[in-house]
C-alpha cells in the first residue's frame, strides 16, 4: 500500500510555479532519494508531505489522509511522519534528552519511564549515549543531526523525511549521519524520502531515485538503472556534473 501518493499536485508561490503536475507513489517501507539542481523543487516537494507547505491542486495522500484538503488535521499526519532538516532545528532551550522526549510526552502521552528508556536507546543507536544532558549548542553539527534523527524516531513514525540532512555539515561529519540513515533504511517498515546531494548514499541505499528540475519530475527509476543508464538528457547532464570531479 502506498504510504505517500501525489496525484497531479500543483504548487505556486505567487506567480512562480514551484511544482508542476507531480505524480509520485512511494510504497510503505521504500527508500526514495530525490535529487536535482538547486531550485528544482525538491525541498518544496518534501515539505508538502508533512504539510509545512500547502499544495494548490490535485491530491496528496499521506498515510490515508489527503493533505490537499484543508480540513485534514496536520497534527495527525505529523505524528506519523517525521522530518529531519538541513539546519537540525533542535530545541535550543532543551537538553538532548528533553529534545527527544518532548513530543512523545506531549503528543503521544508516553509515560515518563518508558519515554526515557526509548530516548536513551535511540541515543545509543545514533552513537550519542553520553550526550543526553548536553544542550544543542554544545554539540557539533554531525551530533546535532544525529540527535534530530533520534528525536524523529522517538515518535515511532511510519515515514521519515530528510531535507538535505548533510548539506550543512563538515565533510568528516557526513559519514556518521549517513551511517545512521543507512541503519534506518534497513528497517523494512520505515518509509524514507531523502533530498540529498550524496550520490554515494543514493546509489547504495535508495530503492528508487527521483530526478527533478524546474518543479517537474523528469525521471523516476530504480537506483541502479538511474545511475548506470539515465534516460533524460537533463539527468545525464546533472549526473556528469556531480559525479565527474
Amino acid at each position: 500500500m502506498a504510504m505517500i501518493e501525489f496525484k497531479n499536485v500543483e504548487k505556486y508561490y505567487g506567480d512562480f510555479h514551484a511544482l508542476t503536475n507531480i505524480n509520485l507513489k512511494i510504497e510503505s517501507g521504500e527508500t526514495v532519494v530525490l535529487i536535482g539542481p538547486s531550485g528544482s523543487g525538491k525541498s518544496t516537494l518534501i515539505r508538502t508531505v508533512n504539510g509545512l507547505e500547502t499544495v494548490e491542486g490535485g491530491e496528496l495522500i499521506v498515510n490515508d489522509q489527503d493533505l490537499a484538503n484543508k480540513k485534514t488535521d496536520m497534527n495527525r499526519i505529523r505524528k506519523n511522519v517525521g522530518m529531519v532538516f538541513q539546519h537540525f532545528n533542535l530545541y535550543e532551550n532543551k537538553t538532548v534528552l528533553e529534545n527527544i522526549m518532548l513530543a512523545p510526552r506531549l503528543v503521544l502521552k508516553r509515560n515518563k519511564s518508558e519515554n526515557e528508556k526509548i530516548a536513551q536507546a535511540l541515543l545509543a543507536k545514533v552513537g550519542l549515549a553520553d550526550k543526553g544532558n548536553s544542550y544543542p549548542k554544545q554539540l557539533s553539527g554531525g551530533q546535532k543531526q544525529r540527535v534530530a534523527i533520534a528525536r524523529s524516531l522517538a515518535m515511532k513514525p511510519k515515514a521519515l523525511l530528510f531535507d538535505e540532512p548533510t548539506s550543512a555539515l563538515d565533510p568528516e561529519m557526513i559519514g556518521d549521519v549517513l551511517n545512521v540513515m543507512k541503519d534506518i533504511a534497513k528497517d523494512s517498515d520505515m518509509t524514507m524520502l531523502v533530498v540529498t546531494h550524496e550520490m554515494g548514499f543514493a546509489k547504495q541505499v535508495a530503492d528508487r531515485v527521483i530526478f527533478m528540475d524546474s518543479g517537474k519530475i523528469l525521471e523516476d527509476a530504480p537506483s541502479a538503472q538511474f545511475f548506470d543508464n539515465p534516460k533524460e538528457p537533463r539527468a545525464k547532464q546533472f549526473l556528469s556534473q556531480v559525479l565527474n570531479h
Binding site: 537540525f88 533542535l90 535550543e92 532551550n93
Partner: protein, 211 residues
C-alpha cells in the same frame, strides 16, 4: 532633608507602599496582557492579529495620563473606582502595549526553524509556543523588558493626578504645606530609587543567569 523625612515619615511610607502596590499589580497585569497580545500578533488567524494591532496602537499612542483620566473620569461613572484603581488600570494597559511589542520582537528573533522543527515533530502551534518559542523569546528580551518595568514604576507617579495617594501625591502634599520643595522631591526621588535600582539589578542578574 532629614527634617522633612522625620516630620512626614508616615506619609512618605504610606505613599511608598501605594506606589509599590500599584507597580506590582500593574507589572503582573501588563506582563500577562502584553504576552497575550504579542502572541495574538503572530498567530495565523488574521482577526486576532488585527485586534491585537488595534489594541497596541491605541494604548501606546495615547499619553498615559489621558488613559488614566479616562478611567478616573469616564469609566468610573459606570464602574465606580478609586484613583488608585483607575491609575493602576491605566498604567497596566499603557505598559502592556509596549510589553506586547517587546515580546513580539523576542518571538520574531527566535529562529523560525524552532517553530518549524516543533510542528514537524507533532507539536501544536500552542505547544510549540509554550515549550519552545516563548521561553527563548523571553530570554532574548530581558533587557528591554527591564526597561519597561522601570518605566512602569516611574510612570506610576501619574496616580498623583487622580488622588491615588502614591509617593508622588504625598510629595506634592508635603511640598505644598511645608514649602520645602527641593528637599521633599529629593526624598521622593530616593524612594523611587529604592524600588527601581533593585529591579534594575535583578533584571541584570536574570540576564546573566539565563544566558
Amino acid at each position: 532633608m532629614i527634617n522633612i523625612l522625620q516630620n512626614h515619615l508616615s506619609e512618605f511610607i504610606s505613599g511608598f507602599g501605594i506606589t509599590l502596590l500599584s507597580s506590582v499589580i500593574a507589572l503582573v497585569l501588563s506582563l500577562v496582557l502584553g504576552t497575550i497580545f504579542a502572541i495574538m500578533e503572530v498567530v495565523p488567524n488574521k482577526g486576532a492579529r488585527v485586534i491585537a494591532r488595534i489594541y497596541i496602537e491605541i494604548f501606546r499612542n495615547i499619553p498615559l495620563l489621558v488613559i488614566t483620566m479616562f478611567f478616573y473620569v469616564v469609566v468610573t461613572k459606570i464602574f465606580a473606582m478609586s484613583g488608585l484603581t483607575a491609575g493602576t488600570i491605566g498604567l497596566a494597559l499603557y505598559t502592556s502595549a509596549f510589553i506586547a511589542e517587546t515580546v513580539r520582537a523576542g518571538i520574531l528573533a527566535v529562529d523560525s526553524g524552532q517553530m518549524e522543527g516543533a510542528r514537524a515533530n507533532g507539536l501544536t502551534f500552542w505547544q510549540a509556543m509554550q515549550y519552545i518559542v516563548l521561553p527563548q523569546a523571553f530570554k532574548i528580551v530581558i533587557p528591554p523588558l527591564g526597561n519597561q518595568f522601570i518605566n512602569l514604576v516611574k510612570n506610576s507617579s501619574t496616580l498623583a493626578f487622580v488622588a491615588g495617594f502614591d509617593l508622588m501625591y504625598q510629595g506634592n502634599e508635603i511640598a505644598s504645606t511645608t514649602f520645602d520643595t527641593i528637599n521633599t522631591y529629593i526624598v521622593v526621588g530616593i524612594f523611587y530609587l529604592i524600588i527601581t535600582l533593585p529591579l534594575s539589578y535583578y533584571m541584570r542578574y536574570l540576564e546573566k543567569k539565563l544566558a
